[in-house]
Each structure stands twice: as C-alpha cells, then as structure tokens.
C-alpha cells in the first residue's frame, strides 16, 4: 500500500499536493471541477487586516509560458474572512492554510492572532514576498532582519503551523530562509513570483497598471527548482516547493530537489483539474518506480 502522506511540521498532509495562494480562490471556486477534499491542503487567497481593493486593471499580462500579475492582495479583510468565508469552507476535509499579508508587522500580527482562534485553519502562510504592493509584502521578504522580525512577531501570537513564503527577488534566498527558521518558522514555501515587466510596443506603454508585476507559470520552474534545492540544503525545517508546477513530473522534480510538499499555482488557471491530475500522476510514478512511501523521494536527488 503506497503511503502518500507527508508531514509539514505538525501538519499531516494526506498527500504532498496543495494549491497555491492566489490561484485557487478559497477552494469553492473549484468545487465544480474537482473534489477539493482529495488535496493535501489548500492555501487561500491572501488575507490582510483590512479590506484592500487591490491594484487597478489591467492586472495581468500573458508572457511566454507564463503570466505576470499585479492583483495587489485584493481581499475584504480578516473579519470578513472569519464571518463570511470561513463558514463556507470549514467543511473541507483537508488542511486549510490562510495566506497572511499586510503593510505593517502589527497588521500581520492582528490577522494571525484572529486566525489562531479558528479550529479548521490549521496553519498560516506568511506572505512576505508579494511584489505587487507599495508597502509591506516583498519589502519584508528581501532583507534578513525584516524577514526575521516579522516572523518573530507573528510567532509570538500564533501557535499553530506557520509557513513563511519566500521571495525569489533576492541575492541569496538561503540566507533569508535561515533567518526565518531562526525566528521560529515551521516551514518555508519557495518561491513567490519573480518581479517582471511587459510592454505593449504598439502603444509604447506598459501592459500592467503597476508597470511591474509577478511572473509565474512554467517559465519560472527552473529557477524555483534551483531555489528549493538551495534552501532545502541550508535549513532543517520542511520546504514546500512551488513555481511553474504543471504536471506530476514537475512535482516529482521538486520533491527530489528537497521539497516535502508542493503547491500548484498558475496551472490551475489553464486546467482547473490539474491538482488532481498531478496527485494521480505522483501515485503512478511511485508505483512505476517501486516507491512505497512518497517521503522516500524527498531530497532523493542523486548526483
């Protein structure tokens, strides 16, 4: 009997496949297409202390094998999440992990403290890597002292599993990973989007209202894979890999590079059933390779 379960700190995931924040709504958007309960976990759209309208349209530009977005953390705030969204999603038989962001350390703490009270929210993912907001977001994730400070502050008010989502827009991602590990992170997710830009040559104008945005999709996969490999060698806490994963082979590569679990992001936009296809594909791979326990694959890269 194949064991697909993995442990991310205290979280026992039934399998390593999770949906990435910002690409899966709150899960309910995908109920018509898949059985969300089959996933190892879902990462919700980012949640901030107050309502955020997000950035102006246009927020998206298609690029070779990927896309740029600059949504800007649009959401109705943590109180709305608790009162209106949580009741609609708490029935899911999977880990619901809320992606937490804000402009200030106090804001992160407020959201985390409130979410700490919700039974079915079994973890949070600190988003210190959103490239699309003027204040906060990536500013917290691109320096070791800032990343460490926000991690430490939230750790004091949040006692369940705390994942920190790292920015690839840094010179040395392993150092940032070590900084958040030292301040109490239980896991890191690697990577958020890469800062990019798209131009409409005919109009001589940027395509995105914010000029720059976050690049995701298959185009970023080799970079994400390299960073997962670097980070997993540098820290002891589990690494969750993401960045351009579109099929089971991609997912296996991330596990081999050192990821304990993976998240599927932009691929959900192209195929809303892709998470389940990846899950089935991982099982098929394990059977084909005589793997009894998917944990055998974590960091099993041969060189």
């Amino acid at each position: 009997m194949l064991d697909l379960s993995v442990n991310v700190h205290k979280l026992l995931l039934k399998n390593p496949v999770m949906s990435a924040s910002g690409t899966f709504g709150y899960g309910i958007e995908f109920d018509d297409f898949i059985d969300v309960n089959r996933l190892g976990g879902i990462l919700t759209k980012a949640c901030t202390s107050k309502n955020r309208d997000g950035n102006r349209y246009p927020r998206m530009a298609e690029t070779p094998a990927g896309m740029l977005n600059s949504v800007g953390l649009q959401n109705k705030g943590v109180d709305y999440f608790i009162n209106t969204i949580y009741p609609k999603i708490k029935h899911y038989d999977t880990h619901i992990i809320v992606n937490v962001s804000d402009s200030t350390v106090e804001g992160y703490m407020e959201v985390a403290e409130k979410l700490n009270q919700l039974d079915k929210i079994t973890g949070i993912e600190l988003n210190i890597s959103c490239p699309n907001v003027k204040e906060g977001g990536m500013a917290f994730g691109t320096s070791c002292p800032m990343a460490g400070a926000v991690t430490k502050a939230v750790r004091e008010v949040y006692d369940k599993t705390m994942i920190v989502k790292l920015s690839p827009n840094v010179t040395n991602i392993a150092e940032i990973a070590k900084a958040v590990e030292d301040e109490g992170a239980d896991s890191v997710s690697v990577i958020n989007t890469l800062l990019g830009m798209a131009i409409d040559a005919e109009k001589r104008r940027p395509i995105l209202s914010t000029i720059t945005g976050g690049l995701s999709g298959p185009a970023v996969k080799p970079i994400a894979l390299r960073m997962v490999w670097q980070v997993s060698k540098a820290i002891k806490i589990p690494v969750i890999g993401l960045g351009g994963i579109s099929n089971a082979t991609d997912a296996i590569e991330f596990l081999l590079a050192g990821a304990t679990a993976i998240q599927v992001g932009t691929a959900n936009f192209v195929d809303p059933q892709v998470c389940i296809k990846i899950l089935d594909g991982i099982e098929e791979y394990c059977n084909r390779h005589g793997v009894q326990d998917v944990k055998e694959l974590i960091g099993a890269l041969e060189s």
Binding site: G25, E29, G54, N268, F269, P272
Partner: protein, 256 residues
C-alpha cells in the same frame, strides 16, 4: 450555475470572411442551459505562444444538435490557431461562465454589437424574440468586412447597420446612427458589446435618454472562474470580477 469542463468535437469551422470565423462544437454530454452573454474559456493547444485560455462569448446554441458555436476574430497566434481547427478536432472548454443580460422593462429593446462584439447579441435577440419582445439589432463595424453575418438576426428583429467608412449601412459610429435621432426613446433597454470607446459612447447616449443600459465587457482574464481576480472592473460597489459578476454590467454601476 454549475460550470463544466469538456472536450468538444469540432463539427464545422466556418470561415465567414478573411478575419472572422465561427467554430461549431459538439458537446460530449447533454448541453446545459446557456444564457445570452455567457462565455467559454477555450484551451488553445495548437499554438506554442498561447499559454492561458481565451475567453469567447457563446455565439449560438443548438440544443437539438447538442452544439454551441463561438464567433472569433483573428487577432493573434491563438485565434489564428483556432481558425485552423478542422472537423473532428477537439477543443477543451470551461463553460458556461459569467452572468447574463436582464430583460427589458418594456417591449422594445436595442441590441448593439461592434465587430466581433456582436457575438452575444445573437442569443439575446433570440431570447427576447421568444419572450415576445421586439428587439432592434444595430450591427457596427469599421468597414463592411466587419459586419458579420447580419442575416442571422433577421428572424428575431429588425437589423440596422453602420460602418465607420460607410461601406455598408449608414456611415459613422453606432451612436451616430439615425436610430438615435429618431426612435431611440421607444427603447426600454439598450444592450451593447464591442470596443471600449463604442460601449462608453453607447452608455453615455443611453444615460442622456434615461434608458437602462447593459454592456458586456471583454477584460483580459486568466482563469475565468473567479480565482485570479485579474479581470476586475471598477464599480460604484467596488471592484467586481468580469468573469463571475460580469461580463454583463449595468452601465449606471460602472465607473466609466
């Protein structure tokens, strides 16, 4: 409304002009009800430069044949690739997506389509005709080449045409058509889909005559199912997604 994802079979790829074509697609299961204004997210698998799905208005529906069609203009690699699909090829659709138009308060309504924006007006004119309304259909385009299958609307209402260069129908923009100096006051609703400047002009004229107006937006989107929040439009009630809360919006609610 429940959304579906299915592989449709191409039964016919009808090349209407050099620029416009309509793909007729057979559903592998019984077609669900599809409302005027709803759209499909189409996976373009035969173009290497097209990564995301492409949203297209549903043009026509034939429940007896279990078919729907999409009216498409060749614009980039994705649409050119779709124009090359042949009978028997498959096309993956997520559908039916988005909301629909509301019914007019009185008998007469004006439906306006600019270029490929005419697509949702076919199902709308059909529905209004079936329900006993009297739709007029105003088809606009840059030239006569952009007036796509105007004869399709004839069974459901009176058809009027404008072109920017006067090569078909009256010369000028849709809002310069003589309908707007004559019988416009008879309409209890105006519906429009087309280029942004056209829809803005229609919304302005509708407001001047105090006629309720709905437009169908074509914002760029990634997912089509309310997950990515890329397609938002600013309304007086905050940002709304074009894919779930639209694509049809009451112009009085939009910050145009």
């Amino acid at each position: 409304m429940k959304k579906f994802i299915h592989d449709f079979e191409v039964t016919h790829n009808h090349h209407i002009t050099d620029d416009y074509f309509a793909i007729y697609l057979k559903c592998p299961v019984s077609l669900p009800q599809i409302l005027p204004g709803q759209f499909a997210e189409v996976l373009v698998s035969n173009s290497t430069t097209t990564y995301l799905r492409r949203p297209f208005s549903i043009y026509d529906v034939d429940y007896k044949r279990n078919e729907l069609s999409l009216l498409i203009k060749k614009v980039g690699d994705g649409t050119v690739a779709l124009s090359k699909l042949k009978e028997g090829d498959t096309l993956n659709l997520i559908y039916p997506l988005g909301n629909s138009f509301s019914l007019p308060g009185g008998k007469k309504a004006l439906l306006i389509g600019g270029g490929v924006g005419i697509a949702p007006m076919l199902l709308l004119s059909k529905l209004l005709h079936e329900k006993g309304y009297k739709p007029d259909i105003l088809v606009g385009g840059r030239t006569s080449n952009d007036i796509v299958e105007p004869e399709k609307y004839k069974p459901f209402g009176e058809v009027f045409i404008t072109t920017d260069d006067g090569s078909a129908g009256e010369k000028g923009m849709v809002t310069q058509h003589s309908l707007f100096s004559g019988k416009v006051k008879e309409y209890s609703a105006i519906y429009a889909c087309g280029p942004d400047p056209m829809m803005k002009a229609v919304a302005r004229v509708a407001a001047e005559h105090n006629i309720p107006c709905e437009i169908s937006l074509e914002n760029t989107m990634a997912c089509g199912i309310g997950a990515c929040l890329c397609c938002v439009v600013e309304t007086i009630d905050g940002n709304k997604t074009t894919c779930i809360e639209g694509p049809v919006f009451d112009t009085r609610k939009l910050k145009l």
